[in-house]
């Protein structure tokens, strides 16, 4: 489990990184925290002649906030988010999610931008950023463009970015102060990727509800029917639960494949438990 030989270069700034990516034939791969890329290289599942390390690029480590949104540089680590060293847009949701990613050793190096760029459908950030309605700022040879979350994750390990582009920052809209959330991840053991992930954000002040099912299909599934059933619901009732079960089934029917019976049970549980958390049901 040792990688093929490859050239390694550390980018000093974003233009430097983009210059390295400019030659489409060169097979250059960007490395941020390396928590997915390095194992793939070691297993020789991926071979790249050249790896460009962007983890020290100052611009990519920046974070900031406005009245409406939080901005996170692509190389902000899970650990920094977990530790509150980045602004929180969603009443603690992002800190909570960060604290549950793999193990602390992984969180110390792994980055939010690396996770979004890899677009593993089981990754926590892919689901969470979709639920939060994040926007992805991408820079390439033709300048900068912004991609909304629903347009970002196209297929497993496949995003809206070209190989010449780099994700530079993520803009996460702030929820209102009274927003609540639920996040439920089923793992077979602590620290593993989720078998299913349910993310629910309820923001009554903005009349907004967002529900995303992650890890269960090729890309995260926006559960719009479930969100509609939850929008404005004041509290958990038997009637609400019944309505949610119907809505979940409706959402799952729009998935990219039919769910096996055991998956359907787990997925329904995941979404309903995230919803109960968001509604403050213990």
């Amino acid at each position: 489990m040792k990688p093929m030989p490859f050239d390694y270069a550390r980018a000093t700034d974003v233009p430097d990184a983009l210059a390295a990516l400019a030659d489409a034939e060169a097979g250059v791969r960007v490395m941020a925290g390396g928590q997915s890329l390095v194992p793939m290289l070691n297993l020789r599942l991926a071979t790249f002649p050249r790896v460009v390390d962007i983890s020290k690029v100052a611009e990519l480590r920046e974070r900031g906030e406005t009245a409406d949104a939080v901005t996170l540089g692509a190389c902000v680590t899970h650990g920094e988010i977990e530790d509150g060293e980045a602004p929180e847009p969603a009443a603690g949701l992002m800190r909570h999610v960060a604290s549950g990613i793999a193990y602390r050793a992984v969180r110390n190096r792994g980055t939010i931008g690396g996770s979004a760029s890899l677009a593993d459908a089981s990754a926590d950030w892919v689901t969470t950023l979709l639920a939060l309605g994040a926007r992805f700022v991408i820079r390439g040879p033709d300048g900068e463009r912004e991609v909304a979350a629903p347009d970002m994750f196209l297929a497993p390990y496949f995003t809206a970015m070209t190989d010449q582009e780099l994700l530079v920052r993520i803009v996460v809209p702030k929820t209102s102060r009274d927003a609540t959330w639920g996040y439920y991840k089923v793992t077979r053991r602590s620290g593993e990727y989720g078998l299913t992930i349910g993310a629910v954000i309820l923001d009554p002040a903005r009349d907004r509800a967002s529900v995303v099912l992650g890890a269960a299909s090729r890309t995260p599934l926006a559960c719009t029917a479930t969100a509609a059933a939850l929008r404005g619901a004041p509290r958990w009732t038997d009637a609400l639960e019944a309505a949610l079960r119907v809505a979940v089934a409706e959402d799952l029917a729009r998935g990219d494949r039919p769910f096996e019976p055991h998956e359907a049970i787990m997925v329904e549980t995941t979404i309903l438990r995230a919803a109960t958390q968001a509604l403050g049901v213990s």
């Binding site: 089923v186 053991r189 593993e192 055991h262 049970i265």
Partner: protein, 795 residues
């Protein structure tokens, strides 16, 4: 009863003295391990070493048409033909009907499993060696693979080894009148059980390093092995180097659990190649190789039928155990070890007088099967103990009560089982009573009534009991048909002139605490401080011949040998001390690093000074020096039987299929405990592995014979959050057959956990109409069963 040697004079210890047998002594070896100062195979720093990557088969079954080695790779790539005149491994049983097969060190004509080694590639680094391996092109003529048990049993499947079919061996243990038992029975209960194939997952993988020592004219083989002497013996035969020119060393070994208790093909290939090279070569197994190509474990299908009376008392038992042993027979255990063992011990701790067993070993295009903590016992315990729960339900009684009624009783000891094992001592039913008391059965039942059915979480209670045959003696290995008989162990105990003690033992310590517990045995006899005793082991150059550490044998066997040698040495120490003190030898006792006679005493240092440096101070006729070498064999050729009952409370989440372990209690008896703290660690660690067996670990293959779990992302082992603290009660019935009454116990924790946990999960889900008889019980299996039961009810 068969007695293989004179009764040992080493009686059970009733009141532990500080540092001696029974004391909770801190481990001598922990200093270097906790500081990261252990020296494992990958840590060895020998100038000029080149690293090895094995080219391994990417296909499950194929003929090799051609192997194209890249130009310029001469001297860096080696095939079987480059290793000289070496023999293939042929691991057979002497039992009539056993079908043998050859396992070449490197595949030359045919590959039979994904991961089988084909070529050795050398590089200055492992990465370079892997680059080279990637450049070799093998032209395979693929053959249809035989993957699962049912395929292997099908006579129409292709034969792997040129036999009429793929059945390697069938054993038929049993006795008593089963037909009468069936006729007399009030209930008959049958089930089919499956235990998945597992990987062993020692923390340190396997590894081998070898070079020719020009000064000593010997081949030096370092291997991460549990049994260096035995490996030397078999390597010598296979590669044609005489044993006195072959040294095998096991450095610090980071866990074995059985996977390093075999001759490994890599050992043969590397030793043979090193003899022909002028520089050292080393292979360090990586995790991917470990999960794919190391000997794997389990993969059993057991069909079991019990005939019982109206109280659930088992009158007769009928079993068929089929084990998928993979592509090759592993030396020395053979492919048939698992199936033979399961079929041979299926009556468990119970007094079952009629039994008809059938153990079937089949071969397939999967990695070969080897021993793993518990060997056949986790599966035997799982199937029998699951069935006991179903018998209890069939007669409407609490499962633990049915267990108590079936147990061999203390007054029946020693008890000869229907398959010929001799249970030595103990109160088996008492372990059930103590486990039931610790887990508080009425409280759990009340909680179930209160909570189950109120939400998605269902509470369940499970028990499992077992006996663990340990320290198997000569009779056992002969009965099993092994070509070598591992019936004894050896130790040398020697003082140094400055009064310190060295123990040289042929066992190998890879986590068992033997550098401490053997010192405690010496302290018992010689009055030395165990912290000051050096235990040297794992090296054919530093100890007399012996068998190694496996089968829960080392404390009994090596402990017995150290005890006997120390007792003999103590007699001489007392004679010399008596001479120095001017008293009679029988007035002398040894304690606190001194020889004491009433108010007078002399430090051991003075005794050793006389023995080694001042023969003029020795009594007349006494020979100089102070060392003894002895062997030990247990009195019973089938060893000493430890036993235990595990009790566990689980919560099953019917929404996710996840199982949480709420309480875990173990009541066990391993006879005299040398160091209760180490015993407790062994129980806890074994339970952790049993939890993996029950809930997480599985090495599935696809229909083409490709292993699907090749990294830790796919092969899940329990971590600290998944393992509860186990509450442990010690029963302590000394074995009449061993030194000090010690029974082995290293595997026990792993034996009962799958059975107990499956019983608990089934207890929880019974109201929902679910029964699960397959390990591991994954969320998928639980939720699918729940779905099926729901569909069934709706019909």
């Amino acid at each position: 009863m068969s007695l293989t040697s004179a009764p040992p004079a080493l009686a059970a210890v009733t009141a532990p003295r500080p540092g001696c047998i029974g004391d909770r002594v801190l481990r001598n070896e922990d200093g270097r391990f906790l500081a990261g100062h252990g020296e494992y195979l990958a840590d060895l720093d020998v100038p000029g070493t080149r690293e090895i990557a094995f080219l391994r088969s990417p296909v499950a079954h194929a003929r090799i048409r051609a192997i194209a080695i890249p130009e310029g790779a001469e001297g860096r790539v080696f095939l079987l033909k480059d290793l000289g005149d070496i023999h293939p491994v042929r691991a057979v049983l002497t039992s009539p009907g056993f079908r043998g097969s050859d396992y070449p060190a490197l595949a030359a004509d045919t590959v039979r499993f994904v991961g089988e080694p084909i070529a050795i590639c050398l590089g200055a680094t492992r990465a370079e060696a892997e680059d080279l391996a990637q450049e070799i092109v093998v032209d395979f003529d693929e053959l249809p693979p035989v993957v699962e048990i049912e395929q292997a049993l099908d006579p129409a499947s292709p034969s792997l080894h040129g036999w009429p079919d793929n059945i390697c061996f069938v054993s038929t243990p049993g006795g008593g009148d089963l037909d009468a038992a069936a006729k007399a029975a009030a209930v008959t209960v049958s089930r089919e059980f499956r235990m998945a194939r597992q990987c062993v997952v020692s923390l340190e993988g396997r590894g081998v390093m070898a070079w020719w020592d020009r000064r000593l004219q010997e081949l030096v083989v370092y291997s991460s092995t549990q049994q260096p002497h035995v490996i030397r013996t078999v390597l010598a035969k296979l590669i044609g180097v005489p044993e006195h020119q072959l040294r095998v060393v096991a450095p610090d070994v980071g866990g074995g659990f059985g996977v390093k208790n075999n001759l490994q093909q890599e050992e043969v290939a590397i030793a043979a190649l090193a003899r022909r090279l002028k520089f050292p070569i080393r292979w360090t197994e990586d995790r991917r190789e470990h999960l794919i190509a190391s000997p794997q474990a389990r993969e059993h299908r057991v069909r079991l039928t019990a005939h019982a009376d109206a109280q659930g008392r088992i009158l007769g038992l009928e079993a068929e155990a089929v084990v998928n042993a993979g592509a090759y027979s592993i030396w020395p255990w053979s492919a048939a070890m698992e199936a033979n063992m399961v079929a041979g011990i299926l009556t468990g701790p119970y007094a079952i007088e009629a039994y008809r067993g059938r153990g079937v070993t089949v071969v397939s295009n999967k990695a070969p099967l080897g021993p793993y903590r518990g060997v056949g016992r986790p599966s035997a315990c799982f199937t029998l103990e699951r069935l006991v729960d179903e018998i209890a339900r069939a007669v409407g009684r609490e499962p633990h009560a049915v267990r108590i009624d079936n147990m061999v009783r203390p007054e029946q000891m020693p008890y000869r089982t229907v398959t010929g094992k001799l249970f030595d001592s103990g109160d088996y039913a008492e372990s059930v009573r103590q486990a039931a008391a610790m887990i508080d059965v009425p409280a759990v039942r009340a909680r179930q009534t209160r909570e189950n059915g109120k939400g998605p979480r269902f509470i369940g209670l499970g028990f499992a009991s077992y006996t663990e045959q340990t320290a198997h003696g000569t009779d056992e290995w002969i009965a099993r048909g092994l070509t070598e008989v591992f019936g004894y162990e050896t130790a040398t105990v020697r003082f140094t002139p400055d009064g310190k003690l060295i123990i040289e033992a042929a066992i190998q310590n890879h986590g068992q605490g033997l550098e401490t517990t053997l010192a405690q045995v010496a302290a018992e006899e010689l009055g030395v401080d165990p912290a000051d005793v050096v235990v040297r082991h794992g090296d054919t150059a530093v100890s007399p011949y012996g068998m190694g550490t496996f089968a829960s044998r080392s404390m009994v066997m090596a402990g017995g040998a150290v005890g006997r040698a120390s007792r003999q040495l103590a007699e001489k120490v007392k004679r010399i001390a008596a001479h120095l003190l001017q008293v009679k030898p029988d007035e002398v006792t040894l304690a606190g690093n001194c020889a004491v006679a009433g108010a007078r005493s002399v430090p051991l240092k003075s005794v050793t000074d006389a023995a080694f440096l001042h023969p003029e101070n020795l009594p007349a006729g006494e020979e100089p020096c102070l060392d003894e070498t002895t062997t030990f064999q247990p009195l019973s050729g089938t060893g000493a039987f430890a036993y235990a009952t595990h009790a566990v409370v689980v919560a099953v989440d019917t929404g996710t299929g996840l199982v949480e372990i709420l309480e875990y209690a173990v009541a066990h008896d391993c006879g005299t405990m040398v160091n209760p703290m180490i015993v407790e660690g062994q129980v806890q660690g074994g339970v952790a592995q049993g939890i993996g067996n029950a809930l997480l670990e599985e090495s599935p293959y696809d229909s083409g014979g490709q292993p699907l779990a090749s990294t830790f992302a796919d092969y899940l082992v329990p971590g600290a959050p998944e393992v509860p603290t186990v509450r442990i009660a010690h029963l302590e019935t000394p074995s009449p057959f061993t030194a000090y009454g010690i029974k082995g116990m290293g595997e026990g924790g792993a034996i009962a956990a799958p059975a107990a946990i499956l019983n608990a999960v089934n207890d929880a889900l019974r109201p929902l109409g679910v029964e699960l008889n397959e390990t591991p019980i994954t969320p998928k299996r639980i939720l699918t069963a729940l779905h099926d039961a729901r569909t069934e009810r709706a019909r």
